[in-house]
């Protein structure tokens, strides 16, 4: 995984609550055995018309193609656990999502792939949303190490992040290495007679 440093980008806005992972990547694209080439299908049913042409009124099609930040309404990523949603958003080029609340599984999937979920409180969210809606080229600075989102005017909003996830993202390490290093503890647990359930026979 590539470490996340500080970066600056304009944002694309989907001002809608409860965007579920079926919208982010419809199920018909899940028959892949890989992670790549999902970016073209991100938000497919909102992004393309019946003929397969890009809908000009859909924000992701209006934005300059290099937006690295998506601003979306509350409860982003709800529904299905499909990690393909994260891979598709990253395939489009996104590096961070700003919302007021993320669904649990989506948040974990995002952190595991280096897509930064930035949770803001309602007031901060609406300030940032308003700025980016008024001027789509508004440049936002994301600093993971400082856990801040900074506007061009210098307004700075802090966002929370799990300290372990932050460590992994800053150093580009993944959690599997940490779990593998817990080998001795896992073996000890498996050998404990009080272990809750027997293995399947």
């Amino acid at each position: 995984m590539t470490p996340i440093g500080t970066f600056v980008s304009h944002a694309v806005v989907l001002d809608r609550d409860d965007i579920d992972t079926d919208q982010i990547i419809p199920a018909r694209f899940l028959t892949t055995t890989g992670r790549s080439r999902l970016g073209e299908a991100v938000f497919a049913d909102w992004r393309y018309d019946e003929t397969g042409a890009l809908r000009s009124d859909f924000p992701l099609n209006q934005s300059l193609r290099d937006a690295a930040i998506l601003i979306a309404g509350r409860n982003f990523g709800c529904g299905s656990s499909r990690e393909h949603a994260v891979w598709a958003l990253q395939g489009y080029g996104l590096r961070a999502i700003i919302s007021t609340k993320f669904a649990d599984i989506f948040r974990t999937n995002a952190l595991g792939n280096g897509l930064l979920p930035i949770s803001l409180d309602d007031d901060a969210f609406h300030v940032v949303l308003g700025l980016c809606q008024r001027d789509p080229e508004t440049q936002l600075e994301v600093s993971l190490s400082a856990q801040t989102l900074t506007t061009p005017a210098g307004d700075r909003f802090e966002f929370p992040i799990d300290p372990f996830a932050k460590h992994c993202l800053l150093h580009g390490t993944d959690a599997l290495g940490y779990l593998l290093a817990a080998e001795d503890d896992i073996t000890r647990y498996e050998e404990t007679p009080a272990m809750y359930t027997e293995a399947r026979t």
């Binding site: 809608r16 609550d17 409860d18 579920d20 079926d22 919208q23 419809p26 199920a27 018909r28 899940l30 028959t31 892949t32 055995t33 890989g34 992670r35 049913d45 509350r74 409860n75 709800c78 529904g79 299905s80 656990s81 499909r82 990690e83 994260v86 609340k101 669904a103 649990d104 599984i105 974990t108 999937n109 595991g112 792939n113 799990d162 300290p163 372990f164 460590h167 993944d174 959690a175 599997l176 940490y178 779990l179 593998l180 817990a182 080998e183 503890d185 896992i186 647990y189 498996e190 009080a194 272990m195 809750y196 359930t197 027997e198 293995a199 399947r200 026979t201």
Partner: protein, 473 residues
């Protein structure tokens, strides 16, 4: 240390902690049972290969094919599978062979929807931790197991280490007082719960369902309730195990036998939360006051009593107005419109929410001696091969076929619409599945989520109908 009253979650969690959570690091939680299917696992096996890792506990890992599998023979009476889906199925077969994992492949006796076969085979047991790359893993919480969905990165973690990095969730008690009235089902109850707490009301929480209404439920009904916990955003759903649970598990293929059963039972009886245990949040619902529920919108929280009218965006608070208006536009419904009598095109009876034998029996009871309306196509898709065989043994398939419905093989089918079973754009379906998201059952398709009783009654009427109005309901 002073003994503190513990919830069911505290007990299950505590028994599976390999390494404690600290301020800087999450805890390491051991997983007793890992269920695997074709769609969310291929990339995880690739990770193992790339890093030269084995599956730590193939004996705690079980795979099935369900999401993209066909449920009917195609032209020429052969199985037709799209090439990419077929490649994914072959990949699962190859992965299971290489890593030594039991696979219930298409056509085999144990095949079925992952959340149906786990309980059915006695793999799912009280007090366990169970995960799967599927959000409806919450189903297994009906047994007092901590069961939750994970993404593919975490599937790789569990394959390689049998563990997950976890922070302990908060707890929410949903207390359901009173008994459900006749014609009101577990599906109606969970739809009412989601409508009440919202599609993100459970985020960060494990929801424990308790109260008289839950105690009176069969395991099939409890699974329906826990199944849709994720639709309220909850990490998992839980129900304390009791004699109903133990009777269900007893004698199943992988259930403990003989002295091991007695020992297991002793442990399981200690699982229910202590009377003085506290929850981070509590919600009370009068289950006895509920009526059959149906969704009108594009998320499972947008549900009303079946005889109510579609809400008007003008009368809801500003925060929800736009979302409601967008939902109604997608569904092509008018504010204030009654749903009863709304013509429909398709009825889907199936999914990990409502495809067990009791669901099929409930629908068959209404369909016996009746025909579905000529304008309606009805798919009946049993949750597993075993459910299918059991249903056929008692003649349910004859009732469905005589009524004009299609009797299919086991799988997820039109719940996720990956296998060709799907709505055409603009079609309306009454579906016993769990998600009414835009396009979930086929691009442009419109879903009304409801119970098997409502589904059967609506199939007969050709329009949304209240099963309680059928004479022998």
């Amino acid at each position: 240390m002073i003994d503190r009253a513990r919830t069911l979650l505290d007990k299950v969690w505590g028994a599976h902690i390999v390494r404690c959570e600290t301020a800087a690091t999450p805890g390491v939680l051991y997983v007793d049972l890992h269920l695997v299917h074709e769609v969310t696992s291929p990339q995880a096996f690739t990770t193992l290969r790339e890093r030269g890792l084995r599956v730590r506990r193939p004996d705690r890992t079980v795979a099935t094919m369900d999401h993209s599998t066909p449920t009917a023979l195609g032209p020429g009476r052969t199985l037709t599978i799209a090439p990419d889906a077929a490649a994914q199925l072959r990949q699962l077969e190859a992965n299971c062979r290489e890593f030594g994992i039991v696979l219930h492949a298409l056509g085999s006796e144990g095949q079925g929807i992952v959340h149906v076969i786990g309980p059915e085979q006695g793999l799912t047991q009280p007090g366990m931790t169970i995960v799967c790359g599927d959000s409806h893993t919450s189903t297994h919480g009906a047994f007092g197991a901590l069961a939750f969905g994970i993404g593919t990165t975490e599937v790789a973690h569990v394959l390689a280490t049998q563990c997950l990095l976890q922070k302990k969730p908060k707890t929410m008690e949903v207390r359901l007082d009173g008994r459900l009235r006749a014609g009101v089902t577990a599906k109606d109850l969970i739809l009412a719960i989601i409508a009440r707490i919202g599609v993100d009301g459970g985020t960060g929480h494990v929801v424990e369902y308790a109260g008289e209404a839950i105690r009176g439920m069969s395991m099939d009904e409890r699974m329906t309730v826990c199944n849709m916990s994720i639709e309220a955003g909850a990490r998992a759903g839980l129900i304390a195990p009791d004699d109903t649970t133990f009777e269900y598990v007893a004698g199943r293929m992988h259930a403990p036998q003989g002295p091991a059963w007695d020992e297991a039972l002793r442990r399981w009886r200690s699982l229910p939360g202590d009377a003085a245990a506290c929850f981070d949040a509590t919600v009370h619902i009068d289950a006895g006051a509920l009526t059959p529920m149906i969704t009108y919108g594009t998320n499972p929280g947008m549900a009303i009593g079946i005889d109510q009218r579609v809400p008007d965006p003008a009368t809801v608070d500003a925060a929800h107005r736009t979302a409601l208006a967008k939902s109604l536009a997608y569904m092509a419904l008018q504010p204030g419109e009654p749903l009863l009598g709304k013509p429909i095109d398709v009825v889907f009876l199936g999914s990990c929410t409502n495809s067990r034998l009791s669901d099929l029996r409930a629908a068959a009871h209404l369909l016996r001696g009746r025909r579905i309306a000529p304008n309606v196509r009805m798919l009946v898709v049993p949750g597993s091969r075993r459910v299918k065989d059991d249903a056929e043994a008692e003649g349910l398939h004859d009732i469905f076929l005589a009524a004009g419905a299609e009797w299919r093989d086991a799988g997820c089918s039109m719940c996720i619409a990956m296998n060709g079973d799907q709505l055409a754009p603009g079609q309306y379906a009454v579906s016993t599945s769990n998600r009414n998201f835009e396009g979930r059952q086929g691009k442009g398709g419109r879903t009304f989520l409801a119970s098997p009783l409502t589904a059967a009654a609506s199939a007969i009427a050709g329009a949304i109908a209240d099963a309680r109005t059928l004479v022998d309901a």
